[in-house]
């Protein structure tokens, strides 16, 4: 082999790297693989009831404990009283289901008075058609997010009926309100504002956002849910058809996307930006060929081959050295 100076070889090497990087950039391709946490949405082994977050089917779903931290990205910053949320996900080829659970000593079901704040939880996905990972804090222009927001007060409205002034303030008295039977007395309700309704078909609001301050109630409220507080712990179920439509995140077996979580503790005055949030983690929807079992066997085989090959290489090197 002809002798080459180190610098000439180095320049050649650097040039080759730059050229290859330019090609990869042009192709919008990356030579990396994720090592991050992955939430596996396996195929449900039995029917998933929409009204019972404690159903036995969830015992067969692998949990993922996701650390949360205070929201420190935009005002109002703070929260962080809930340190982790445990998440499980399954699908039945028609719907995808998530169950969130976290410790919360108090059950905060009302946000009626100005000083009352409810418990809540949210799941966030990159919206339909988004090619780059959005900012996990409400997305960004050109990279929207789809958020499912479960509210404990809506859950209470569904379970026990809407809480109105007489229930919230039993000793209050008012002689007369003009036009109180007219639609315009409650302009929010008259305008069809979801947040003003006294009756809800689901405790989960379907939302789309493209940056701070752009949270918008979605046109279609397609996410079902059920929250249950038991022994100081919330169990909240979310469910939606796999097909999304519009900006709503679609799911299909074999798909990999991202998901982030947020939890609010009303007793700690958490609301709006004051909450506990996670980063995006990977969400893998099972199906579409292959399986975890197959992969495990393949990986074990490769590890065995590497160990045997490495030991052989070590022995060969030693023999080669001794001969030299």
């Amino acid at each position: 082999m002809p002798a080459v100076s180190h610098r000439a070889a180095a320049i050649g090497l650097v040039a080759a790297v730059l050229a290859a990087a330019a090609v990869l950039t042009q192709l919008d391709s990356r030579l990396v693989s994720s090592q991050a946490l992955s939430l596996q949405a396996g195929e449900a082994q039995e029917k998933v009831p929409l009204d019972n977050p404690l159903a036995g089917v969830w015992e067969g779903a692998a949990p993922l404990e996701i650390p949360l931290s205070a929201q420190q990205l935009t005002a109002p910053m703070g929260g962080g009283s809930i340190r982790a949320v445990t998440v499980r996900a399954v699908h039945d080829a028609r719907r995808i289901y998530f169950r969130l659970e976290w410790d919360d000593a108090t059950q905060d079901l009302r946000a009626f008075a100005p000083e009352e704040f409810r418990d809540a939880a949210a799941i966030e996905f990159p919206a339909n058609g988004v090619s780059t990972l959005p900012s996990f804090c409400m997305g960004q222009a050109g990279a929207k997010v789809n958020i499912w927001h479960w509210k404990a007060d809506w859950q209470a409205d569904i379970d026990s009926g809407f809480v109105n002034v007489p229930q919230a303030y039993p000793n209050a008295a008012a002689d007369f309100y003009p036009f109180q039977d007219s639609d315009t007395f409650y302009p929010g309700r008259a305008a069809g504002n979801l947040l003003s309704r006294t009756e809800h078909s689901t405790p989960v609001e379907n939302i789309v956002a493209g940056g701070f301050g752009t949270l918008t109630t979605a046109e279609q409220q397609t996410v079902q849910g059920k929250g249950l507080w038991q022994d100081g712990r919330w169990y909240v179920l979310f469910a939606r058809e796999l097909e999304g439509g519009g900006d709503y995140t679609p799911f299909e077996p074999g798909q990999t996307t991202n998901v982030a979580f947020a939890v609010w503790d009303g007793s700690q005055n958490e609301r709006d930006g004051l909450k506990s949030v996670s980063q995006f983690v990977e969400l893998a929807v099972a199906g579409g060929g292959g399986g975890a079992g197959t992969e495990t066997f393949v990986v074990l085989g490769v590890i065995a081959a590497i160990i045997i090959g490495g030991l052989g290489f070590l022995l060969y090197s030693e023999r080669f050295k001794r001969k030299a």
Partner: protein, 377 residues
Amino acid sequence: MQTTLRLRAGAPPDGGLSRPARVDAAALAPYALWLLLGAGVTELLLFRTLSRVGVHVPKHGAVLGVYDALVQVGSFAFNVSTLTAYLAAGLLAYSAYRSATGRQPLAAAGALLVLTLAGVSLLLSFAGGGPATRFAFGSAAVVAMLLLAGQAWRGRSPSGEGPLRAAIVTLAVLAYAAAQYHTLANHAYGALGIVSAPPGTRTALEAGELLVLLNAGAVFWAWSGVRAGRRWRPGALQVIMPALLVLTFLGGYFGRQDSSTTAILSLWTLGLTLYLPLPLYTLALGLYACAWAGCLSRARRDPATMGDVIALGLLPVAGLTLDTTYQVLVALVALLLLAAPHAADAREVNAAYLIHHPQGRLRVHQLRADAGAPARR
């Protein structure tokens, strides 16, 4: 192939600068290392950080144009950095293995494992992988790190830090191991189909973050020059650089509107959740930057420590949580440099640095002249 450790095994007087020689891994590694550091820091700032604070960039006029151009440069730097990570890990691990076999079994095994991981990570970038694959790759990386920590306690250092260097490597490895336990335990449970949450994952992650802060203090003690006591006179760079970084950090955090830059930089790029009091992070940042600047000043006088400059620069690029195979490789390269500082030919590291220095060519010529070799123009 010739033995690569010229500093130990007898280097030519000019360090291989002047005359053509057979190319070996140790001589090429420094070029890859400098390129990795440059591209890594660029992608950290322009790609991982700037692209994630785009929500705050005005969406009109020249600002958007400049933003898009910078992010594109960052994207290119990311690809340069990922490719160079494979190259640097391969070259460095190979030369470390060649020099360690037989005499230092820990170093040999660690280097061989890093070499294997570089190859496997390239394969994974095409094939992908589920929980079992990620668990296997991550576990092997942690084993390689532990082997390197073991080597750090047995090896010699070029500048005599000895146990302090070994302690720093060990702290870094423990931080990575704690953070990786959080990820790998979940991968293992997923691969084995265990339907319960692994114990202590959150605590381990928080412990890893605490170890990062402690290690910043240890790095400061080792490389800032503070051990000289009252005779310590920090250079201008050691004062200006930490001050700028700390001011940027605090300015971002307590900014008038929000603190997105700070939070995203720490959470998304370094993997730090800022769960501890803010002054601790501020102090750690200042101390680490001061140590890096001190290390750089020292390396100009003592080329043998140039590898430390690169290693300390690469650790923030890798971050704590090692979310990609690329970040795993960068961390391994940094630890390899710290644990086996002779793996890369230190004279070549210095030469590669000088070539890129504003006055580099003059210094290289001077180096050659000092060595009695003809300076070519």
